[in-house]
C-alpha cells in the first residue's frame, strides 16, 4: 500500500500539522520534510479527526437487502467519515448466534471500507424472554462486546438484570432501547403532547423512556455492570443519567443527530420521513440534549441509521416504518449545530463521534488521538464547506432522509481507513 502524507491539517483543533501514514499506521506527526513515494493529500484548511465510530447503525442484511446491504451501508458510512460502525442485531434472522455474528463480520471485511462490528441480541429472537448466546458471540471471531435488542426494549426487569450480570464476565455492555411497552405501545409514534392530541396520533410519552432508564441505572448499580442508553430523547432521561453518573454508576449514553435538531412540530404535515423511534421531541428536550452532549452527560453521537424501502414509508403515518437515514449527514449536522453554536469545539467532536464510542464499544484501534503508532483511521473535515443535502445523491439504497434540502455548514472531505483513502467529497475513492 502506498504511503499517505497529509499536509497542513488542523489536528483535532490543536493546530496544523502534517501526518505521515505508512502501512496503515501513523508514523510521523508534525512537520514532515520528505516522504518518498507517498501520495500527498493537501489538507490546508481542513480539520483532522480520528476516524468516526458509529455505535448504532442498521445495515439490514441479512433479511432486508432491498433497503440496504452491508456493502451499501459501508459505502454510506465511509462517505460520512466513519471508519467503524456497530451493526444492530434486528436483522432477519436476528444476530443472536456466533455464526450470525461472524457472517456479518466477514461481509463487512469484504467491503474493505469500514470495520463492521456486529452487535449481538440480548435475547433470543429479540423476544425479550431468554438470553441469547452472549458468551459464544463474544468468543467468536466477531468478539461481540455490545449487546442490544434495539428496535425492542428489554422490558422484563429480571431479564435485564440477568443480561447485565452475565456480560460483566467479559466486559460486555448492554445497549438498551428504553421504551416501556405499557406506556408506549407499538402504535405510539408521536411525542405525547398538545400536537399529538391535535393530530390524533398515538402518543409516545417521555416517561416511557425515562422510567426504563431510571430502572436500568439502578440495576447497573446493583449488578456492578455497565449499561448504555441508546438514542436518548428527553430532558428527563438526561437528568437520570446525570444523577447516575454522579453516583458513580457505569452508565453511558448516546444521542442521534436528528434528536439534536428536529422537533415534533415537523409531524404536523404527517410526513412519514419524520417518523422515528423514539419520536422527535419538543424544543425544550432538544436544548437539553445539546447541553448534555456538550457537558459530557451524553457521551456519544450515534446515528441510528435506519434505511427503509420506499414502500415501507409510503403509508399513512401510523402505519409507516420507523427510522431515518443518518450515516452520510451525521458529521455535517453535528458541525452545523454543535460547533456552529460554540457548544463543542473540534476536539469535542472527536470525543463524541470517535473516542467515546470507540471506548464504549471496546474498539482498541479506533478513537485515538492521531498520535504516532495509532492505526491510520482518520476523517478530514472541511469546517467551512456549505452543503445542501440532496437525498438523491446518497450511497444508501434508501431515501428516507429527513435532511433533504437543508443547508449545513461543515462536511467530510476525506475518510482514511487503515491508511487508505476510502471516500472523498461525498463519493467513494
Amino acid at each position: 500500500m502506498a504511503s499517505l502524507l497529509i499536509t497542513g491539517a488542523d489536528l483535532l483543533g490543536r493546530g496544523p500539522a502534517d501526518l505521515l501514514v505508512e502501512d496503515g499506521v501513523v508514523t510521523e506527526v508534525g512537520t514532515v520534510r520528505s516522504a518518498k513515494g507517498a501520495d500527498v493529500l493537501d489538507a490546508d484548511g481542513l480539520v483532522a479527526l480520528p476516524g468516526l465510530v458509529d455505535l448504532h447503525t442498521h445495515l439490514r442484511e441479512p433479511g432486508r437487502e432491498d433497503a440496504e446491504t452491508i456493502a451499501t451501508g459501508a459505502a454510506a458510512a465511509a462517505v460520512g467519515g466513519f471508519t467503524a460502525v456497530l451493526a444492530m442485531a434486528n436483522t432477519n434472522p436476528v444476530t443472536d448466534t456466533a455464526e450470525a455474528a461472524e457472517r456479518i463480520l466477514d461481509l463487512g471485511r469484504a467491503t474493505g471500507l469500514v470495520d463492521v462490528v456486529p452487535v449481538g441480541a440480548v435475547t433470543k429472537g429479540l423476544a425479550g424472554e431468554e438470553l441469547a448466546e452472549l458468551g459464544l458471540m463474544h468468543r467468536s471471531r466477531a468478539r461481540t462486546t455490545v449487546f442490544s435488542d434495539d428496535g425492542r426494549c428489554v422490558s422484563d426487569a429480571r431479564v435485564m438484570r440477568r443480561a447485565l450480570e452475565y456480560v460483566r464476565a467479559f466486559g460486555g455492555v448492554v445497549s438498551q432501547h428504553a421504551q416501556d411497552p405499557h406506556l408506549a405501545g407499538p402504535q405510539a409514534c408521536a411525542h405525547e403532547g398538545e400536537l399529538s392530541g391535535r393530530l390524533g396520533l398515538p402518543g409516545w410519552p417521555g416517561i416511557a423512556e425515562e422510567s426504563v432508564v431510571a430502572r436500568d441505572v439502578m440495576l447497573a448499580r446493583h449488578t456492578g455492570s455497565r449499561v448504555h442508553v441508546a438514542h436518548v430523547s428527553t430532558a428527563g432521561t438526561v437528568e437520570v443519567v446525570r444523577w447516575a453518573k454522579a453516583q458513580g454508576i457505569a452508565v453511558t449514553a448516546e444521542v442521534t443527530p436528528h434528536h439534536l435538531v428536529l422537533t415534533t412540530d415537523l409531524l404536523a404535515g404527517y410526513d412519514p420521513v419524520f417518523k422515528v423511534n423514539p419520536p422527535l421531541r419538543p424544543q425544550e428536550d432538544v436544548d437539553a440534549l445539546r447541553a448534555a452532549l456538550a457537558d459530557g452527560t451524553i457521551d456519544a453521537v450515534a446515528t441510528d441509521h435506519a434505511p427503509h424501502a420506499r414502500h415501507d414509508k409510503e403509508h399513512a403515518f401510523v402505519d409507516a416504518a420507523f427510522g431515518m437515514l443518518g450515516l452520510e449527514t451525521a458529521l455535517s449536522v453535528v458541525s452545523d449545530v454543535m460547533v456552529g453554536s460554540g457548544l463543542l469545539d473540534w476536539a469535542g467532536v472527536a470525543r463524541v463521534m470517535s473516542q467515546a464510542p470507540a471506548r464504549i464499544a471496546g474498539l482498541a484501534s479506533h478513537g485515538g488521538s492521531l498520535e504516532v503508532g495509532d492505526a491510520a483511521h482518520l476523517t478530514l473535515v472541511d469546517p467551512a464547506a456549505e452543503v445542501t443535502v440532496d437525498r438523491g445523491a446518497s450511497l444508501s439504497l434508501s431515501r428516507n432522509n429527513p435532511w433533504h434540502g437543508r443547508r449545513l455548514r461543515g462536511a467530510v472531505h476525506a475518510t482514511v481507513f487503515g491508511g487508505r483513502v476510502t471516500a472523498q467529497k461525498g463519493a467513494l475513492a
Partner: protein, 330 residues
Amino acid sequence: MTTSPHLLAPPARRVRRHLLSSADLDRAQVRAILDTAAEMHGVQQREVKKLPTLRGRTVVNLFFEDSTRTRSSFEIAGKWLSADVINISGKGSSTSKGESLRDTVLTVAAMGVDALVIRHHASGAAHQVSQWVDAHVVNAGDGTHEHPTQALLDAYTMERRLGDLQDRHVVIVGDLTHSRVVRSNLITLRTLGARVTLVAPPTLMPSGIGAWAAADGFELSHDFDAVLPTADAVMMLRVQRERMSGGFFPTPREYTVGYGLTRPRLDALMSANADAVICHPGPMNRGLEISPDAADAASSLVLDQVSAGVAVRMSVLYHLLAGNDEGEDS
C-alpha cells in the same frame, strides 16, 4: 333558514382545493357551505332531485374503513349533482407488506378522478393523500383526527333548531381522546363563534388538552353536572366498551353515573333550558353514555342529521368542484 343578504358584500374567499380539516374553513366559508346546504336541502324536497351542476365530473369514495352511512351519504350527494360516483373499498395495509397506501391511491387517481373522498383508520391519511394526487380530496374521517363534513352537518342541524350559534354554549361529553368528531366539531363551532366546553374524565382527554384549550379558546371540565345548566346544546359521544380494557375507566356503571346523560340529568337540562338540544353523532350506546329517554329526545335530531348530511355533502362537493381551479391555495 334565512336567505343570504343581497348586499354588495365581497364574495367569500373560495374554499380551497381540499377539505382535509375543519380548520381549512374560515367563518365566511363555513357560512357559504351551510347556506348552500340549505338550498340543496330544498332540492331534496322536489320531485326531480337532480341538479346538472357536476355533470361529467367523477367522484370516487375510497373507503379503507367501513361506514355504510357516510359512504352512501356521499354517494347520494354526488349523484344528485349529476356526478359519476364510484365506491372503492381500499385494502387497509397495516404492515409493511403489500401495496403501499401511495400506490393504492395513485392507481385509483390514474383513472381520471376529479375528487377523492377518503375514509381511513389512520390519522392524517387524507392529508398525506392530498400530497400525492391532483384530485380534490375530501376527508370523510381519518383515524382519531377529524371528520369535517360531520362537524358541518352537526352545525347545520343545530343552527336549524337554535338559530345563530354565536355565543351559544355547546357541551361535548365523552371519549375525546379517540374521537375525530370532537376535534372537527370543536373547530367548526369555535369558527361560528360558539362557546364550547369539553367534558370527560381525565383519562379520556387527549394529551396536552390544557395547552390546546388555552390556545384555541374552549373550556374543559370533569364535572358534567356543573356545566349542564348553562348548555344550549349537549352533544354526547359514543363510548366504546373496549376502552375499559385500556384502563381508561373502571366500569361502565361508573362512567354512566359520572358522565352519562341520565334521566335526572336530562330533567335538569330541560328545566334549566327548555329549548336545549341533544345531539349524538351515533351510533348510540343506549344506557351507557345516553339514557333511553334522552336517546329518544335525541332521535328526533338523528333523522334530521341524515338528510342534513346529504345536503351538506352536496354543498361541499359543489364548492370544491364546480368552479375553476385558478387562484386557489394549495
